[in-house]
Symmetry: C2
DNA sequence: GGGGAATATTCCTGTAAAGGAATATTTGGA
DNA sequence: TCCAAATATTCCTTTACAGGAATATTCCCC
């Protein structure tokens, strides 16, 4: 059995489950950007961009590198690897045919004498 | 280039980014359960369980099948497949070595005459 | 058809979090 | 040492949403 499933960090999901932060993540996919560049491309005001980046940073989704008075933000690989691992643990679910819910329930009914 | 990346449905992430709903999803991993069973196993009151299941259902994460006066909830494969596809689109990020941020920035600096 | 499970819905309240605006901080350069 | 650009932080207000408690609904069974 060895039924040890990876558990997903809720904070990662929460951080990603916000439209502007998701857009930031999509932007950073192609490489590091500064706060100003991010704010520009997304039509955000600088403070909001900074705030969202702080959330992403606090949750380990993003990495900062100071360069002069600019800060380059960059995606970290770990949270995506973790998400990948977690989703893969649902492989059985993903492979499942769609129309056999009834079969499943029939099985369950048999086991209902406990 | 063909740079068409899959975009992730925010609603799916929002639905999963709540502790009790995540626990429900983990529970359902092994097969369908009724509202009562879910509430029991998680120590939730029935109404809260129903409410969370409604959110999961509204977002296509879960499927319902009425059987007598009970309702069996079951994971749907689609959202997990979508999540899998999305995460895979970050393969470049996931593969990235950790310590070459400086190199990356050096590259960027060269391109900074536009 | 009435009663009792099992489940859904409604109303209320508290709280966390996002946006706006203003301000603080840091840093390099003259 | 002072200025300006880039970024972070604070305060305020509004809104979405989770939990609690009560109630409505649905459905089988006698």
């Amino acid at each position: 059995m060895s039924g040890m499933n990876p558990d997903m960090d809720m904070a990662t999901l929460s951080a990603l489950a916000e439209p502007n932060r998701m857009k930031i993540v999509e932007l950073l996919r192609d490489g590091p950007l500064t706060v100003g560049e991010i704010a520009d491309q997304l039509g955000l005001r600088q403070p909001q961009a900074s705030k969202h980046l702080k959330v992403l940073s606090d949750n380990g989704i993003v990495d900062v590198k100071a360069e002069a008075n600019r800060r380059f933000y960059k995606l970290r690989p770990e949270p995506f690897r973790a998400l990948d691992t977690w989703v893969k643990s649902f492989q059985r679910v993903m492979e499942e045919r769609f129309d056999n819910l009834e079969d499943y329930l029939r099985e369950l009914q048999d086991k209902e004498n406990d």
